[in-house]
């Protein structure tokens, strides 16, 4: 009611949730603001990021890739080097510390590819908290290794069989759990999505990526970059990298969505490229939906981008023109996955491979003196099985 504006990014965001959750969101917002103004909390957050997750992650000059494309200098922000193999842990450390502060003993989370689930299960194991993860049945099949990891870490993995059996439905189920157990349960949302304050909070816990990058690039090059690139599903790794640079008007910022089998087909997850405005998971944003507002199934070879919505701040940055959003197909991503593996000896996550595939298009068009920074949001161990099936299948064709 009051502060309606701060709960939104322009027209996007808001709190479209059942009344049962409203007091919990208000409490969360208050506790979050209090924590962010508490030096001790920030110190603790930084402590675990450094000592437990291994931050700062390096900003690696990809010399071979730079030579291959013959354009600007390419730097990779190595979020893949985090403990548990992706940027997701930055946010989980922050939110679980907040849950501890609020006295919540039970943690729930949704997961798509399983990276957020593994990060949540990991931090819960460390803090000895009860942990339940919701994961779509289809994703459980694609990401068996991550399911096993979560169980090994002591989490309970609930298979979600409703709807499309992917991230969207896992999120519905996590919200239903939260409505039922709101008094003792903390819901750790894994991306810059959901009702306020989540999109803001998750961005703030991920901005460490961009804050470090800024310091590192100034050390290495003595100036700001010309391009920033990141893949976008819900969009947390992208917001984390972009946010500290948003005011730097000369930097071209590009978010890369999943075009699946192509933006001319029905099998894609290109929410900004092809979506329309609506309400899902407590937020107003761009969605893949039909004329009656029924949410359409998203498709991407990468489970982490397989989501029919996008964080509301991205919707806002798109409309304002500050960030450009492009789409990359499954096959382009698979090719980029192989290119980075061979060229730099780094096996990227399939999600990050979408950003790499756009890099392959962009880099050759840039000048040699340009600086391009790409957020390598995660490592590809979890995707090796998928890739081997795709490539194996091709061999037999």
């Amino acid at each position: 009611m009051d502060n309606k504006k701060s709960k939104r990014f322009g027209n996007y965001g808001g709190q479209y949730v059942p009344e049962t959750l409203m007091n919990a969101l208000i409490e969360l917002e208050e506790m979050y603001e209090e924590a962010m103004n508490d030096e001790e909390f920030i110190k603790e957050y930084m402590y675990y990021l450094q000592e437990y997750s291994g931050r700062p992650t390096s900003l690696y000059y990809a010399e071979n890739l730079t030579k291959k494309y013959g354009g600007g200098k390419i730097y990779l922000k190595r979020e893949d080097l985090n403990h548990t193999g992706a940027h997701k842990i930055n946010n989980v450390v922050g939110q679980v510390l907040l849950a501890n502060r609020m006295g919540k003993k039970r943690i729930i989370a949704e997961t798509g590819a399983g990276q957020h689930g593994v990060a949540t299960a990991t931090i819960c194991a460390m803090f000895n908290l009860e942990c339940e993860i919701y994961m779509g049945e289809e994703d459980i099949q694609r990401q068996g290794l991550n399911v096993f990891k979560m169980e090994l870490l002591g989490a309970k993995v609930n298979s979600v069989t409703s709807g499309t059996k992917t991230l969207k439905d896992a999120t519905n189920e996590a919200i239903r759990d939260w409505v039922t157990n709101v008094e003792d349960t903390y819901y750790v949302i894994g991306s810059v999505v959901g009702p306020h304050p989540y999109p803001t909070m998750v961005r703030d816990f991920q901005r460490i990526i961009g804050d470090e990058t800024k310091i590192q690039i100034l050390e290495k090059e003595g100036r700001m970059p010309d391009y920033l690139l990141a893949c976008v599903g819900g969009g947390s790794n992208a917001m984390g990298l972009f946010y500290p640079f948003i005011e730097e008007d000369n930097i071209k910022i590009i978010g890369v969505e999943a075009a699946g089998e192509g933006v001319n087909t029905h099998k894609h997850a290109a929410t900004i490229t092809l979506g329309t405005v609506g309400v899902l998971h407590g937020m107003m944003t761009y969605l893949l939906q039909d004329d009656y507002g029924q949410i359409l199934p998203a498709h991407s070879v990468s489970a982490g981008l397989d989501y029919p919505g996008i964080g509301p701040e991205h919707a806002y940055l798109h409309d304002s023109g500050r960030v450009e959003y492009v789409a990359i197909t499954d096959s382009e991503a698979v090719e980029a996955f192989q290119t980075l593996s061979r060229c730099e000896g780094i096996i990227p996550a399939l999600e990050s491979a979408h950003a790499l595939a756009y890099l392959a298009k962009l880099a050759p068009t840039t000048h040699k003196e340009d600086i391009i920074i790409l957020n390598l949001s995660g490592r590809g161990d979890k995707d090796v099985h998928t890739i081997s099936e795709i490539l194996g299948g091709k061999k037999h064709e």
């Binding site: 009611m1 009344e19 049962t20 709101v182 609506g278 507002g293």
Partner: protein, 264 residues
């Protein structure tokens, strides 16, 4: 001018009776059966009928109503078809009808267009579980003077919010019996009487309790606490039994009669 819903509560009050509010998802198992179900439920003693608009992502609903929504969507039901149904119903009955739907169904359809169609067809009330107080300001403005009740939900966690939630409410107040999504419960919150008393302090608008009332026992347990009781998932379960035995309308009608008797 008062809505059909308010008139119904006034009538019942004069007769010293409580309102039985029943829910079905429009188009489950098909739109013609829904029409028959409305007539049958009214005849069996339902005072107000909620028609659910099937949605792909009903996050306030438990598995039973989720299944109902899937069946309706698989039949190709959409809001336009439900508006047609309401127009047809209105030629035969004046039973108060409320839509239960998620905000995206309205937003995507176009808020003004949606409200105009509601008026034109004869929809009396709207229950929107994912449009909390903070988000309803603009919507409420558009509804102003349209004689359609926007039914607020009040939850056991609402506490200090109750006063603001029930302010300006018309029709009735939807009191959520306990935490969680729609569907049967083993027991109700032990503080439910306190919860209802607390709401009564802030409003004269009739109160109806919903979520988890699944049988005659539940009706008897709660009937003294409110002016109305809402039964949804339990009716959907009868529909599911009826689909198997091919007697949907009979089973629902018998069940509503039982609930009615328990409420009297």
């Amino acid at each position: 001018m008062s809505s059909r819903i308010s008139q119904k509560f006034n009538e019942l009050k004069k007769k010293n009776k409580k309102a039985l509010i029943t829910y079905v998802t429009a188009g489950d198992p098909d739109i013609n059966t829904t029409e028959q179900l409305v007539y049958a439920m009214e005849n069996a003693g339902a005072d107000i009928i909620e028609l659910g608009i099937a949605y792909s992502d009903p996050l306030a609903d438990g598995p039973v109503i989720q299944r109902a929504a899937s069946r309706a969507l698989n039949k190709g039901v959409n809001i336009d078809i439900v508006f047609e149904l309401v127009r047809k119903l209105r030629t035969n009955t004046q039973v108060p009808l409320a839509f239960l739907l998620y905000y995206n169904s309205i937003y995507r359809y176009g808020i003004d267009k949606f409200i105009n169609k509601c008026m034109e067809a004869g929809v009396d009330g709207l229950i929107i579980p994912d449009l909390p107080l903070e988000e309803r300001t603009d919507f409420k403005k558009i509804l102003d003077g349209k004689n359609i009740d926007l039914i607020p939900l009040v939850a056991p966690t609402s506490e200090m919010r109750i006063k603001d939630l029930v302010k300006d409410a018309t029709g009735f107040i939807y009191c959520v019996s306990s935490l969680g999504v729609t569907g049967a419960r083993n027991s109700f919150d032990s503080n439910i009487k306190e919860f209802m008393d607390n709401i009564k302090l802030h409003t004269d608008v009739p109160l109806a309790i919903g979520f988890g009332i699944s049988d005659v026992q539940g009706v008897k347990q709660l009937k003294d606490l409110a002016q109305g009781l809402i039964v949804g998932s339990a009716i959907i379960k009868k529909i599911e039994e009826g689909i198997v035995e091919n007697k949907v309308v009979n089973l629902v009608s018998e069940f509503v009669k039982e609930l009615r008797d328990a409420l009297n």
